[in-house]
Amino acid sequence: MVKLAFVIDCDRCIGCKGCQVACKMENELPLGHDRMKVCTVGPHGQFPKLQMYFLPAMCQMCNCPACADVCPTGACRKDETTGVTKIDKNLCVGCGKCEKACPYGCVKINREAAKADKCEGCLAALENGEMPACVRNCSGSAIKFGDINDNQSEVSLLLASVAPSMVYGLRDNGSSPAVKYILRRDEWKDILPSECIEHVAFKRGGKI
């Protein structure tokens, strides 16, 4: 069965955040609303022995998506042909339950549309034979997308090229996130995107 998901090589992510802008442009997202963010993990350690890596965080393409579980209208559900959880905007009532349920902060209410909104892998671009906007525009070629159940896909081959001990996922609270992160040298930190403040101004305003 097809399971589309992102595989992200953190050693290649240079933290430029071009993917965030590419996503906003492609999906015509309003200001203040994002489907992804690049999290800066670190620096950890003591000067000058430090480590820092970047974690592009978007929908984790969960196998058992918590957002779909709590959706009262059936708007939010996993598409069986792609394995991607999508939100049917015609059915969504903007109740915000999915936003609260997502352990990764990756489903949010688009306040202009008053509907839930999340990364759906730019499936329209995919139908035109193109990768998602974040993948196409990634300056470090860090973000890859494809069928992780096909062992000949680019993402599967990438995963197979590194030791299993260097492949990570975000903390699993039961939703079984499918997005994989590769980190070879640095120590993986068990950090959720919501814990990463990308600019000190956001800390003051409580913005994530």
């Binding site: 090589d9 050693d11 290649r12 240079i14 933290g15 430029c16 955040k17 071009g18 965030q20 802008v21 590419a22 906003k24 442009m25 492609e26 200001l31 203040g32 670190g42 620096p43 950890h44 350690g45 003591q46 000067f47 000058p48 430090l50 480590q51 820092m52 890596y53 970047f54 906007a133 196409r136 525009n137 990634c138 300056s139 470090g140 070629s141 860090a142 990308e198 600019h199 000190v200 101004a201 800390k203 003051r204 305003g205 913005k207």
Partner: protein
């Protein structure tokens, strides 16, 4: 102009009454069927990297941007700055029409005028100023980001007859490296952010093993090209060393990070040289045969010894014969000493090698560790990684360009690579690859017409005598221009035409510049949108955004067309503007300007052009195309990769010289580590000046040396912290602070302090704090991080477009150039002033700067708006 006034004003005016629409462009738009989409292959100019881009245009409006995979450097990627091109293009506060100030300076009262009136007014003023005070009383400037090219400004000045043009970069950014590498080996410098080090863009087969990122962060300066390239190299196993007081992404991913104390880089470089010499890690054969280090130097005159009556035959020391001539390129019959000192005809002479050793002898690892606040062991590891794993190379960034020790840093870095023979071999950064031949100077095709400046005017160039290295760009010194405006000595400056981003955010000691501005009679500012500087202008001109402009771009072995995707309002291509102004001066009887339209008279300097098609057509004619044909075909490879990457150019047989090896493009045809030509430059201006100028006060040094910053933490008790700068990936120089997508990610500059320093000065993360130097103070938001060298504070440049209507005009609130130093000491060769590595103190601010926008909601006011019908300016 305040924004509300600006918007009110726009709402009130009758758009398009004065000009006929551009038939051709409108036709193109009208021919689009309903919802017709087309894709235009162009090239970004949000910074200077020129990444290939594809614009999707729907019914004449740009709706989407992405990278073009045909670009061999950016390979289909586009960064946050480039993608933001749409929001920059359709920004509601674009400069849309020429405007004339109708209130006092800084009042923000403007009136729309026609291009005819604007050009007539400026030309009248130019002629009047020239008549009353001499042409030198006019000065022009560029820079600040987003400029399509720089030579139009120099060209206009040369023909007008003023020697005074400048940019805030130049001696503070890039010129130190251009000058030095040009003089030392005659090829391209290894700056990644300036789209050099092209060997590295072929990760599939480049043999480079170690890359040193010295004061550069490609991940932040040019993510889509250089940032991605370094990521590719790291992925294939190339080792990297990063030298930076700030823990950047490139530092985090490096094998060795050396967080050098800001401003001490040259001490560290000298230690590298010493270590390589002491441990004989250099390439002995290359150093002997292809550098001038074995050449004998007269210690008193500091000049190399020549053969009797020959200026181009140099002397070496043979172990048995003593001082002998060395015929180029080498004489195997000689047994040449590399290191030594001798009495020759009663004169003390030393080899270049000995002099190099003496220049760095005191910089042991321990000494450098002490000066740079590093540990000796890490320095040694870094040098070993670099020297034991060759080919290797140092990509020198802008950091060292921003202190008065600038040229010396470039000389030392080049010396290290040359000692290792990291030049023109596969894997080396220093290369002379082929070019398309389409342009005389790739990517900067406007001929600067340097020879048109009368010699008596050239002698008046501000800073031209003291800092003769500026001559390579034919530029004046901003510090000297500032001083001249303020003092009126040696002559008055009266009129300023500036094309650029925010001068008050880009030049050192902004408040001094504001003071100077009030002393000028007439100021013209041309830019895509109003900046702080605009408030002081008499005439404000609307420049095109990159999506409206045309330019010929060469990127590795590929030619790319930046082509106008659309055209809005009454904006004008800057490269055309100067031509329009030249015409008006010609009409007013300016003889040189009249001749500047005569093709035969101008020759290689080209006559002024009436359209970009005409101008760019001149260059692509060399490959048998019109500009239109070129645009249809581009991008395309002008040479296969393997023919384009020409290694060992110096070994090629030279038919002009009896098929001897071509050598390097230096006076000795060798790599000149002992840079005698620096001495000649300082004494005469040669090779950049057509006439001998009066000598500089002191000889320029032929070898690098370290200079402790004049404000130093070693001696400063009042200002205990050292300021350092550096990029974030959202902005280029002063640009893009008005783009919603970018400002919502980075709304205000972070002030980085290490935990110890934050505690010491009573600051917590998220606090607003003042940062103060001896020049002024400004504010930032405190970020407490281990990622900054203790004792240092990092903050990015910033200005606030949302505060243009305030008394501050948006440049005082959070602008590190309120702190920087435009006064002496200057770099002797080029006059670099101090933009980094000076002393500051920090303390808590009670509140945020008034009016600063921090919330996404605020930036909605800057979202794209519907554009006016496309017009072409007909002001000929």
């Amino acid at each position: 102009m305040n924004e509300k006034q600006f918007l009110d004003y726009l709402a009130s005016i009758d758009i398009g009454a004065d000009y006929a629409p551009a038939e051709a462009l409108l036709e193109k738009k009208d021919s689009c069927a309903h919802d017709e989409c087309r894709e235009v292959k162009t090239a970004c100019r949000a910074c200077i990297a020129n990444c290939g881009a594809i614009a999707t245009v729907k019914n004449g409006r740009v709706v989407s941007l992405r990278g073009n995979p045909e670009d061999p450097m950016s390979k289909g990627r586009l960064c946050a700055k480039g993608l933001s091109g749409i929001q920059a293009l359709y920004h509601p506060n674009r400069n849309k029409y020429p405007m004339k100030r109708v209130g006092p300076r800084g009042s923000g009262k403007w009136k729309r005028i026609s291009w005819d009136e604007a050009l007539d007014t400026i030309a009248d003023k130019l002629m009047e100023t020239r008549e009353k005070y001499g042409a030198e009383a006019v000065f022009c400037s560029t820079g600040g980001g987003g400029n399509p090219e720089i030579w139009s400004i120099a060209r206009f000045c040369n023909i007008f007859g003023t020697p005074n043009w400048f940019e805030p970069g130049c001696a503070q950014c890039y010129l130190p490296r251009v000058l030095t590498y040009t003089m030392m080996y005659g090829g391209i410098d290894p700056s990644i952010a300036d789209s050099n080090a092209l060997e590295l863009y072929f990760p599939e087969d480049t043999p480079i093993k170690t890359l040193v990122l010295w004061g550069t962060a490609p991940s932040y300066s040019c993510p889509a090209s250089g940032g991605g390239m370094v990521a590719d190299l790291r992925a294939k196993g190339v080792k990297t060393v990063t030298i930076d007081p700030r823990f950047t992404p490139d530092a985090a991913k490096a094998d060795i990070w050396l967080p050098v104390r800001p401003g001490t880089d040259v001490a560290l470089l000298m230690a590298w040289i010493r270590y390589i010499l002491e441990n004989k890690l250099y390439d002995a054969e290359f150093v002997m045969k292809w550098t001038n280090l074995p050449y004998l130097v007269d210690c008193e005159s500091k000049m190399m010894l020549r053969a009797e009556g020959r200026d181009d035959v140099y002397m070496v020391w043979d172990k048995t014969k003593g001082a002998v001539e060395l015929s180029y390129p080498w004489n195997d019959a000689l047994d040449v000493e590399l290191d030594g000192e001798y009495l020759i005809d009663g004169r003390l002479c030393k080899t270049g090698f000995r002099l190099l050793w003496e220049s760095c002898a005191e910089y042991t690892l321990e000494k450098a560790a002490e000066i740079c606040a590093l540990d000796a062991e890490s320095i040694e590891k870094a040098i070993r990684l670099f020297a034991d794993n060759t080919p290797s190379g140092i990509a020198l960034g802008v950091a060292t360009d921003q202190t008065p020790n600038s040229v010396q840093a470039a000389m030392a870095a080049a010396t290290i690579d040359l000692l290792m023979a990291n030049v023109e071999r596969p894997g080396a950064l220093m290369q002379r690859f082929r070019t398309s031949g389409c342009m005389d100077m790739p990517n900067y095709p406007v001929p600067a017409a340097m020879g048109r400046l009368p010699h008596e005017q050239l002698k008046k160039r501000l800073g031209g005598r003291e800092h003769k290295g500026l001559g390579i760009w034919w530029a004046g010194s901003p510090a000297k221009i500032l001083e001249t405006i303020l003092t009126g000595e040696p002559y008055p400056l009266k009129m300023w035409i500036d094309r650029s981003g925010n001068k008050l955010a880009a030049t050192a000691d902004s408040q001094k510049w504001e003071e100077a501005i009030h002393k000028l009679d007439f100021i013209v500012h041309m830019h895509m949108y109003p900046t702080s500087f605009s408030a002081y202008a008499d005439i404000l001109l609307p420049a095109e955004e990159w999506l409206e402009t045309d330019m010929l771009v060469e990127t590795c072995n590929t030619l790319v067309a930046r082509q106008a995707v659309t055209h809005l309002w009454e904006t004008v291509d800057e490269t055309l503007f100067w031509s329009m102004l030249a015409k008006r001066c010609a009409q007013r009887g300016h003889e040189a300007m009249q001749k500047a339209f005569d093709a035969e008279y101008m020759g290689h300097d080209l006559p002024y052009w009436e359209s970009m098609d005409e101008f760019l057509g001149h260059w692509v004619e060399r490959i048998g195309m019109s500009w239109k044909e070129f645009c249809e075909k581009a991008p395309f490879e002008y040479l296969p990769k393997d023919q384009w990457r020409t290694y060992y150019v110096y070994k090629q047989p030279d038919p002009q010289n009896g098929y001897k090896p071509k050598g390097f493009a230096t006076p000795t045809k060798k790599c000149e580590i002992y840079l005698e030509s620096m001495i000649t430059l300082g004494r005469t201006g040669h090779p950049f000046m057509p006439i001998d100028l009066e000598p500089a006060d002191e000889d320029y040094s032929p070898l690098p040396y370290y200079m402790e910053p004049v404000e130093s933490p070693l001696t400063d008790e009042e200002y205990p912290l050292t300021y350092t700068g550096g990029r974030v990936p959202y902005f280029h120089h002063g640009t893009l602070r008005n783009v919603p997508w970018l400002r919502e990610m980075y709304p205000a500059p972070e002030m980085w302090l290490c935990p110890g320093d934050a505690e010491k000065y009573g600051l917590e993360e998220g606090d607003w704090a003042w940062i103060e130097s001896r020049r002024g103070r400004t504010r930032g938001l405190v970020k407490v991080t281990e990622g900054i060298k203790p004792g240092s504070v990092y903050m990015e440049r910033f200005w606030l477009p949302e505060n243009l209507d305030k008394d501050t005009h948006g440049f005082r609130e959070m602008n590190v150039n309120m702190l920087t130093k435009a006064s002496a000491p200057y770099n002797p060769e080029i006059g670099t002033y101090t933009l980094r590595a000076f002393q500051v103190k920090v303390y808590k601010a009670e509140e945020a700067p008034e009016g600063v926008w921090l919330e996404s909601e605020n930036f909605k006011q800057w979202l794209p708006v519907a554009d006016d019908r496309t017009k072409e300016v007909k002001a000929w």
